[in-house]
């Protein structure tokens, strides 16, 4: 494991969490490569090799469309997300790619001011090392609590 990669990736993960927590969706899209994959899937489907996911996007265009849905069309209760992301575990690395994972917890707080544990799981990532810094080639969010508390609007 290269110490450089570990530090850059740690910073990248915390930056991702900060961007999603403040709902900066343009910045979120910019974290991905053009041909990216983004999937939020229950652990049950993942463990049973069932392809269905809660959200499954397979291009940057689809990410943009998801953001349009989140911000313009889907009617939902306003809420804040707070992500706690663990230190990364680097599984494999080359000059151009890091394969890594990290655990995450997302708390949801609605306007009644009560925080609840909303989504707990792990990121399984392929991160490309580019001239513009790290970019997500694929992020697979696999969550343990497969009973979604009503709806899932924002990306995890």
């Amino acid at each position: 494991m290269k110490a450089d990669n570990y530090l850059t990736l740690t910073q990248f993960y915390q930056n991702y969490a900060a961007i999603v927590d403040r709902g900066d969706w343009d910045a979120w899209i910019d974290l991905f490569t053009e041909d990216c994959q983004y999937k939020v899937q229950t652990r049950e489907n993942y463990d049973r090799n069932l392809p269905m996911a809660v959200i499954s996007l397979s291009s940057k265009g689809m990410l943009k469309d998801r953001v349009y849905g989140v911000t313009e069309t889907i009617y939902h209760d306003p809420y804040h997300q707070l992500h706690m992301v663990s230190s990364p575990l680097i599984i494999d690395e080359s000059d151009t790619l890091i394969v890594a994972q990290a655990n995450y917890t997302v708390f949801r707080t609605k306007s009644n001011g009560i925080a609840e544990v909303y989504n707990v799981g792990r990121y399984q990532d392929r991160i490309r090392i580019t001239d513009q810094g790290l970019k997500i080639e694929s992020r697979h969010c696999i969550f343990d609590n497969d009973m979604v508390l009503n709806s899932m609007i924002y990306p995890i």
Partner: protein
């Protein structure tokens, strides 16, 4: 207190028809207990799953009817049984896995063992223990294992869909559905083998009937689901029909998509972002399938337990599992057909982004149900209004009607005796 604001001690339906729905139908605990008994536990077939979920002998899936945990299992002879997940001995809910494979069921507490049909096969210490040359304890001589099987449900299977009933005197599944609904059922489940694509689950904090109402109400789709309108999947002038069985308990909303182009007659449903294009059109990479026979969407509500969805290429069952008067679990099983090409499977998976807990056109359904329950609970003496398209119950050839909701409550009143 004037009459208007009186909360009846014994719920009475003080309106001449079902164009008003008293809020106590969503808030009264006694009413809810009666509903479980009258709709989920007697006289109705409830959805338990798809045959493709348990392809091999010994495969089982744990699911629910009303608030009761049940197990759907395939026996050695390939027939399907459904038993209540409750040991006949001391009542333990013995099956803890969501699914699995087994040769028999054993309750770990005292090792009572049942075959896959639910018959009691073995009881430890039935004949007591030998101590100092004497047999001590054990079951009385007249203990009959045959009297202590698991609670066995009646099972009906049709074209790969499995229903069960605690009531062994229930009418046939075909009679239960009635010819009109059966025709749409057989359209979606036409005997081809199904392939399971996976599950999504959401806990919606609202009364279970609000979900039935949601899928019996076609006109919210053009108002709440902005995404539908924005990208041309829904127009008020789409060719459509509302169908019901003779009891009005089940319904089918049948519609055929327009071209999604400019919208001239739909004054109240203006496509206000007409120029919107998807960045990635593959969300709406729709391919007509021969079995549709015209309609591009058929949403079936089977009372009380399930919704069957065909919306363009996305096909799912949505299982309603109440867990209290003000909450239910909504379990989506997405599937495809054995003859799907890999491209069709990908298409079904991509279009699943429209549905489920995060879906472009269904995340908002869960949200409005939650907020409806909140509003209803804050003033229990009031009534909901459902009189779009008139005050009686009639099938329709358009989408601007709440007739199927009125129909459901007509049946509900008769069965509940209110």
């Amino acid at each position: 207190m004037n009459q208007e604001n009186r909360i009846p001690l014994t719920p009475t339906w003080d309106h001449e028809d079902t164009s008003r729905i008293p809020y106590w139908a969503y808030t009264n605990q006694d009413v809810y207990q009666q509903e479980l008994e009258k709709f989920f536990y007697t006289k109705h077939w409830c959805y338990v799953g798809l045959e493709a979920e348990i392809p091999e002998p010994g495969d089982f899936k744990r699911t629910a009817i009303g608030e009761r945990s049940v197990i759907m299992v395939r026996d050695e002879d390939r027939s399907i049984y459904v038993v209540e997940n409750r040991c006949a001995h001391r009542g333990m809910q013995f099956c803890r896995e969501k699914h699995g494979k087994t040769k028999s069921f054993t309750c770990p507490y005292h090792q009572w063992n049942y075959d896959l049909e639910g018959n009691l096969q073995g009881v430890p210490f039935r004949r007591g223990v030998k101590q100092d040359g004497q047999v001590k304890g054990g079951m009385p001589k007249d203990f009959k294992p045959a009297d202590h099987g698991l609670n066995k449900l009646r099972v009906a299977e049709r074209n790969g869909v499995v229903f069960a009933s605690f009531d062994h005197d229930v009418e046939s599944l075909e009679d239960f559905l009635g010819p009109t609904i059966l025709q749409y059922f057989d359209r979606m489940f036409n005997g081809r083998k199904l392939t399971i694509l996976g599950y999504n689950k959401q806990r919606i904090p609202g009364n279970w009937k609000l979900m039935q109402e949601n899928i019996k109400d076609p006109y919210h789709a053009g108002l709440l689901h902005t995404w539908f309108v924005t990208f041309g999947l829904w127009r008020a002038d789409n060719r459509s029909e509302l169908k019901m069985d003779k009891h009005f308990r089940h319904a089918a909303m049948v519609s055929t998509r327009g071209d999604g182009g400019k919208n001239d007659q739909t004054t109240n449903f203006s496509s206000f972002k007409e120029s919107m294009q998807l960045h990635d059109p593959s969300f709406l990479d729709i391919e007509d399938e021969a079995w549709w026979g015209g309609p591009t969407a058929v949403m079936m509500t089977l009372f009380p337990s399930v919704v069957f969805q065909q919306n363009v290429n996305s096909v799912t069952t949505r299982h309603i599992q109440p867990n209290g008067i003000d909450s239910f679990d909504f379990v989506w099983t997405h599937f495809g057909y054995e003859d799907d090409t890999p491209e069709m499977t990908q298409r079904r998976l991509r279009q699943a982004n429209l549905f489920g807990p995060a879906g472009f056109v269904s995340a908002d359904d869960g949200e409005v149900i939650e907020f409806s329950q909140q509003g209803i609970e804050q003033n229990a003496a009031k009534k909901a209004v459902a009189e779009l398209g008139g005050r009686n119950v009639e099938e329709a050839d358009h989408m601007v009607s709440e007739a199927c909701i009125r129909g459901m409550y007509d049946y509900w009143r008769k069965t509940m005796g209110v």
